[in-house]
């Protein structure tokens, strides 16, 4: 007990550990790391990365393509082609590392920023753009790629994920580390303060549900920094709910892969939930509607640029694995091609009939809603009539 509390006597109280302050960006943070920002492989006593350099080249490609898709989407928003975009810039390793650790039967519950995980699950990026262009309301079937629709309500998907995982349990799909199923719930540091998320922790723990809570701590809940969000490192929350938590360097794709894989294995074999805190940084704005220069210092950004998730893999591949420039050039060219196709596809998306939106809420449209639809259609048509006259 580091804080003295007058009047507290041992027979009255059991001992308590002092609260720990969350780390600041400039401090050294303790986490699982297998690849340093300089591209050096390092060992960890509990986690190892067992795949070969070909797999690492694959991660490099994934991250590069995803960053390119993200950059293109931001540009499209700036040009008025999307209503909004939530950039994943800086979080590629957290998403690709965890996304590539998933098996085909695992289920993903994302926030609205999981473009990298969507990519890993095989969701067409054009589908993501449809949502942000406003031509549909998320036009992918969650069952096609085991990738649930984007959830905008902060933290709500952790409950959906826990419920889904309890379903997997009741379907007897849990118990074998090889063939078992698991669920992964993505959320951010801001969501950790939501009661919903804490209730999801409780249910998952009490029912031993096969769910991995994957928190990308990107240091900012819009403009709220992490030290105003929690007094203790987020991964330590899990201990208070009776399950393990681990912090991983979220800008290290190898470590993120290894840690997530172990957490998923635990879930699949029936050992219950794990909280993974991927320690990363949101390099861009919260969304295209946000201007982070209003609330954070450029030196912070400079500090994190040195920890870039892609550069460290490139450094490793070039210096340690003998990968030559042809590979990097090919990936760049592929990324440009993907981006060009994405742009083309985005511009070619048909505008929706606005009256269609009335039909998505109910299987059988109530009379009142049909009336509203007709009223709206008449109102919209009145503009055409005026224009013609």
């Amino acid at each position: 007990m580091s804080e003295s509390v007058p009047g507290l006597t041992p027979e009255v109280f059991a001992p308590v550990e002092a609260p720990v302050s969350p780390p600041q960006a400039s401090e050294e943070v303790e986490f699982v790391q297998l690849l340093t920002p300089e591209g050096e492989r390092v060992e960890h006593p509990d986690y190892s990365f067992d795949l070969d350099d070909e797999a690492i080249k694959g991660f490099y490609r994934d991250m590069t393509l995803v960053r390119r898709i993200d950059t293109e989407a931001t540009a499209l928003q700036r040009q008025g082609e999307l209503g909004l975009w939530a950039s994943l810039l800086g979080q590629e390793a957290a998403q690709i590392g965890s996304g590539r650790a998933l098996n085909s039967k695992d289920m993903v519950f994302p926030t609205y920023r999981e473009h990298g995980v969507a990519f890993c699950q095989g969701v067409n990026p054009l589908n993501l753009l449809g949502l942000f262009r406003g031509v549909d309301q998320g036009a992918w079937d969650p069952r096609d790629n085991n990738f649930h629709l984007y959830t905008i309500v902060i933290g709500a998907q952790t409950l959906h994920a826990t419920g889904y995982a309890m379903g997997q349990q009741r379907d007897h799909a849990v118990g074998d580390p090889e063939t078992g199923e698991a669920t992964i719930a993505y959320f951010g540091d801001g969501a950790s303060s939501q009661g919903d998320v804490n209730e999801a922790f409780i249910y998952a723990s009490v029912f031993n549900a096969p769910v991995v809570f994957f928190c990308q701590n990107n240091q900012w809940a819009i403009s709220e920094p992490i030290d105003r969000q929690t007094r203790i490192p987020l991964y330590q929350r899990a201990a208070g709910f009776g399950f393990p938590g681990v912090r991983v360097d979220g800008n290290d794709v190898l470590a993120t892969y290894a840690v997530t894989q172990q957490a998923l294995k635990r879930a699949r074999e029936g050992s219950g939930p794990t909280l993974v805190e991927a320690y990363t940084y949101r390099m861009g704005a919260h969304t295209t509607s946000d201007d982070p220069t209003k609330y954070r210092l450029s030196e912070d950004l400079e500090y994190w640029k040195l920890k870039d998730p892609i550069e460290r893999v490139k450094a490793y591949l070039a210096r340690q694995a003998g990968v030559d420039h042809n590979f990097f050039d090919e990936v760049e060219a592929e990324a440009d091609k993907v981006a060009a196709e994405l742009r083309q596809g985005c511009l070619a998306m048909p505008d929706p009939e606005l009256t269609d939106f009335f039909q998505y809420a109910y299987v059988d449209m109530p009379d009142e809603l049909a009336e509203q639809r007709d009223q709206y259609a008449a109102y919209a048509a009145s503009f055409n009539a005026e224009g013609e006259g």
Binding site: M1, E3, V5, P6, G7, L8, T9, V12, F13, A14, V16, E17, A18, P19, V20, S193, Q194, G195, D196, V197, N198, E199, F201, I202, S205, V206, R228, Q229, T230, R231, I232, Q236, R237, A238, A239, G240, F241, G242, F243
Partner: protein, 316 residues
């Protein structure tokens, strides 16, 4: 003096609850109550550590808390009977007793909800530069309510002068704590960086000592403290159980649980004659309270909508 004060409080609560249960049986109290029997040491010990201007929030099982904070038993009994002379003119009933003058910000029937109210109130006092402390009572079941955990986080972040008192009586209605609370109760509070302690909730003096320390910590600007008071609910979750046996506790468990009775624990610390005098005093007090309550008028049904809004216009 402290020993006698604590005994008077636990005894008052015990006898108040026993008499209230009689009035439930006789039909004077409609709808039943959640008896506090067995948990009296917590209300008595906690409230004895507070100044009159400190504030509390209470629960669906709140008679003990408000009595310990100084509510007149006659007005509380009249409230339970829905009379015009009740604490809240008969509109609040068992689960919504409030008296801002006594620092009672309200009992709250919504499990865990009052934690946010106590935190908000204490935060307001802090911002006004006052050294008032808030205490929030809640049970083990509330530990699984997201909004209570949100209050923990904010209280710790902003060093709010609030003391969280968890009365762990082993059951959320019929759900045993071991099936409902993942991890541990104090571990849950520590997960937000809050100092958390387990206290013997059957001993009023231990509860008083722990709360005094926690309150002094809060008052001196060092933030919230969490106290888990281990206790046992001697009687039903709610008086409906008197009619419908739910069979979730064995007779062995009940007899072990009831063996540590706060009234006896504190009573044994007094001389026999002092104890007898206090007992007699309380019976007289409650006799008079029953008379006052039973003599109270029933509210006029036409006035049912009054007191919802400050402006009577809204009610029309």
């Amino acid at each position: 003096m402290t020993a006698e004060h604590l005994y008077r409080t636990v005894r008052l609560i015990r006898r108040f609850e026993e008499r209230a249960m009689d009035f439930v049986r006789s039909g004077e109290i409609v709808g039943g109550i959640h008896p506090y029997v067995g948990q009296e040491a917590i209300a008595a010990g906690v409230c004895a550590a507070l100044r009159p201007d400190d504030v509390i929030t209470s629960t669906h099982r709140g008679h003990g808390h408000v009595l310990a904070k100084g509510v007149d038993p006659a007005r509380m009994l009249a409230e339970l009977m829905g009379r015009e002379n009740g604490l809240n003119r008969g509109r609040g009933g068992s689960m919504h007793a409030a008296d801002f003058g006594l620092g009672i910000l309200g009992a709250n029937a919504i499990v865990g909800a009052a934690g946010s109210i106590a935190t908000g109130a204490a935060w307001a006092y802090q911002r006004q530069g006052k050294d008032v402390v808030a205490v929030s009572f809640f049970g083990d079941g509330a530990m699984n309510e997201g909004m209570l955990l949100e209050a923990f986080n904010l209280a710790v972040l902003w060093r709010v002068p609030v003391v969280f008192v968890c009365e762990n009586n082993g059951y959320a209605t019929t759900m045993p704590v071991r099936s409902a609370v993942a991890g541990s109760i104090t571990g849950r509070a520590r997960a937000f960086g809050m100092p958390a302690f387990t206290v013997d909730g059957q001993d009023p003096e231990k509860v008083l000592a722990a709360t005094t320390a926690a309150v002094s910590r809060a008052r001196s600007g060092r933030g919230p403290t969490f106290l888990e008071c281990t206790t046992y609910r001697f009687d039903a979750h709610h008086t409906f159980e008197h009619r419908a046996r739910l069979n979730y506790r064995s007779t062995e468990e009940l007899s072990t649980g009831r063996s540590r009775d706060p009234v006896e624990i504190q009573g044994e610390r007094l001389a026999a004659d002092v104890r007898a005098a206090v007992d007699a005093e309380i019976e007289a007090l409650l006799d008079a309270a029953a008379g006052v309550a039973l003599g109270g008028a029933h509210p006029d049904p036409a006035a049912a909508l009054e007191f919802l809004y400050a402006s009577p216009e809204v009610n029309r």
